[in-house]
Symmetry: C2
Subunit: 337 residues, 2 copies
C-alpha cells in the first residue's frame, strides 16, 4: 500500500509508492563516463582562462597564471544584467514587469575537468564553499538584489551545458517564490509553536533516528519524510541561522566533509547520478530572521517530472526514505576521513 506524506516545511503532499518502481522505464543516460582530466576546448580548463570573461575571484588569492584552485567568473550567457531599473512597470491592467537586473556568476570548482565534487579532496570542497560565501556576502550588499540562489547542476539531465565541474550563483531583484512559500509555513509554525520549524525538525529527526544519513557536531543529513524523489537529501546546520551568508567560516571546514561524503555516497550507491543541489537560504533582507533556517537540498535526477507533477504539484516517489537513508548511512559510516 502506498502512502501520501506531507512535507512539514512546504505542506505539500508526496505519494510514496514503492510498487511503482516496477513500471516500464525509458531512462536514457547521456552522461559520458570516459572524461579526460584536461580538455583543450573547455573554457574552464587551465590554460584557457582567456576564453572566459574577467575573473571576479580566484582561490588561493595569491595564485598566478593557471595555478588556481577555484575561479569565479561572470556567466557569459547569464539572463540578467548588472544595471537597470527594478521599479515595477505595468503592461496593461494585469501585467507587471521590470528590467532584467541581476547577477549570474559561475564558480569553476576545480582545475580538473573530470573531478566532480564527490571525488574532490575535502580541502577543495572547502575552497568552493569559501568562494560561495565570499560572493554571497559581497552581492548581498547591492540593495537592488533581494535573493541569491547558489546551485550546482551535475550531469546532462540536471540541465548543465558544460561538463567541467562548476556551480552557479544567481542574484535576483525579486524574492524566490519557492522561499516565500516555505517562509510562510515556517512563520505560521513559529507563531503557533513559538519555535523555529527547522530547529524542531532537527530534534525530531534525531529523536526518531530512522531518516538520519549522518550527524556531526554542526550538521545533520537526512532523507526527508516526504522525499519528492528517491534519495532526495537535505543537509541542515544544527545552529539556527536564516542565511548561508551568516554561516561562520569555521563551519565550512566541517560542511566540506559532510557535503563531500554525502555526494560520494550518492555517487557510489547510484552510480554517479545526475543531480542538482540548491542552497535554500533567506532573502538578503531576512538574514537575521528567527523563523527560517538555511539548508542544502540535493535532488538526484533519477526520474522525469511529468504532467501529473506539473498539473498537481504532487510528486510520486518510488523509494521509502527510511530505507534509502539506511543505505546511505552505512556508506557514510564506512568512509575513512
Amino acid at each position: 500500500m502506498s502512502e501520501i506524506r506531507q512535507d512539514p516545511t512546504t505542506r505539500e503532499w508526496v505519494i510514496i509508492a514503492p510498487e511503482r518502481a516496477k513500471r516500464p522505464q525509458h531512462e536514457p543516460d547521456n552522461t559520458p563516463t570516459d572524461i579526460p582530466e584536461w580538455e583543450a576546448s573547455c573554457p574552464f580548463c587551465p590554460g584557457n582562462e582567456n576564453q572566459t570573461p574577467d575573473e571576479i575571484l580566484r582561490l588561493p588569492a595569491s595564485a598566478t597564471a593557471s595555478d588556481w584552485q577555484v575561479r569565479v567568473i561572470p556567466n557569459r550567457f547569464g539572463a540578467l544584467h548588472s544595471s537597470g531599473d527594478t521599479g515595477r512597470k505595468t503592461a496593461g491592467d494585469l501585467f507587471r514587469k521590470m528590467d532584467g537586473v541581476g547577477v549570474n556568476e559561475v564558480i569553476i570548482e576545480t582545475p580538473s575537468h573530470n573531478t566532480p565534487m564527490a571525488l574532490m579532496t575535502y580541502k577543495q570542497v572547502e575552497n568552493v564553499l569559501i568562494a560561495y560565501k565570499e560572493r554571497y556576502n559581497s552581492l548581498k550588499k547591492i540593495r537592488q538584489l533581494k535573493f541569491i540562489t547558489i546551485f550546482q547542476n551535475h550531469g546532462w539531465s540536471s540541465g548543465t551545458s558544460l561538463i567541467h565541474p562548476h556551480s552557479q550563483l544567481v542574484a535576483t531583484p525579486v524574492a524566490s517564490p519557492y522561499y516565500r512559500r516555505k517562509y510562510e509555513v515556517a512563520i505560521n509554525y513559529y507563531d503557533d509553536v513559538g519555535k523555529c520549524l527547522y530547529c524542531d525538525l532537527i530534534d525530531e529527526e534525531l529523536n526518531l533516528g530512522e531518516r538520519i544519513v549522518a550527524e556531526t557536531g554542526g550538521f545533520i543529513v537526512i532523507h526527508p519524510f516526504a522525499s519528492r524523489v528517491p534519495y532526495e537529501t537535505w543537509i541542515i546546520p544544527k545552529e539556527h541561522r536564516a542565511s548561508f551568508g551568516l554561516c561562520p567560516s569555521a563551519y565550512l571546514t566541517e560542511l566540506s566533509v559532510v557535503l563531500k561524503n554525502t555526494l560520494l555516497c550518492l555517487y557510489k550507491e547510484l552510480g554517479n547520478p545526475d543531480f542538482n543541489y540548491m542552497f535554500d537560504t533567506s532573502t538578503t533582507d531576512d538574514e537575521e530572521d528567527p523563523h527560517y533556517h538555511w539548508h542544502i537540498r540535493i535532488v538526484p535526477r533519477l526520474t522525469t517530472v511529468a504532467g501529473f507533477e506539473m498539473g498537481s504539484g504532487i510528486y510520486i516517489s518510488t523509494e521509502i526514505p527510511e530505507e534509502t537513508a539506511k543505505i546511505m548511512k552505512k556508506c557514510v559510516g564506512s568512509i575513512k576521513t
Copy 2:
C-alpha cells in the same frame, strides 16, 4: 535587455532573456521518428486488449472486439489504490500521512500506435475529450477524492513510458497545492476587483491582441505574458466555469478543433516537440466557484529545469511570447478545417 515578468495568475516571476538562447546547448532527442502504425508488443494496440486491466470505458460504447476509438483502463502501475483510509495519521510530532487512496486511469486516445493528437481527426480528439469528461464526472462523485488531474505526456523527455498516444487521469484525496496557490491569487483578485481574474485576463488579452494565437466563439488560445518556457500555450474557455467537469458537451466539439490545431502548429513549428498538457481545474468541492476558471496549459519540453528554477521557483525563458504567438497565429490561420 532581458525582462522580469510576473504571471498574474500565480504572482511568480519569470525572466524573459532572448539573448540566452545563444548559450551552448546539449539537447538529446531520444524520440524515434520512424514509428509503425501497429506494434505487436504494445499493450495499447488493437488485438492486445487482453494485456491491459479490465476496461472502464470504451468509445463508441457499441464497439466490439478491436473496433474501438478510445479505451479507458486502470493504470497497472498506478501509485494509488481504490480503498484505504484518508484520515490523517501522525508519524511523530511534525509528520502527517494517510493511505495512498486514489485512482489512476489511462486514456488510450486512438487505436493507431503512431498518430499523436496533433495528427488525429477532430472527431477523434473530441472522443478523447468526451472520455475525459465522462471519467472526470464519474470520479468526482467519490467523496474521498478531492482533485482530478488530467494530463498528457508526449515524447520521452515529457516523462512518458509508452509511445502509443495516451493520456492519464489521477484522482487524489488531497487538493493540488499548485491549484491552491492559483486559487489564493484568484480569490484575492476577486475580493479586490470583484471579478474573476481569468475573465479579466481574457478581456485584456483580446484587447491587447499581441499574445493571441487563436480565438473562437468559446475559447482563446494565448502565449501567456510570463511564459515559463518557450511556446507555453494556454487554452481558456471564454465562459466562466471553475471546473472542466461542467464544460457543456457542445463545447467539446469546438475544443477538439482548438486543441488539435494548437498541437498541430506546435508540431509543425517545433518539429514534433515533447510536451505535457494539463487541465487546470478546480477541486471537486469547488466546481461552482466564482473565483477560479478552468483552462488547459500546454508546456513544450524544450529546456531542462535546473538548479536555479528548483532553488528559486523563478523560470528563465529564451523566447518572447508576443513573438512566438505571432508565429503560432499565422500557422493556425493557415489550417483549413
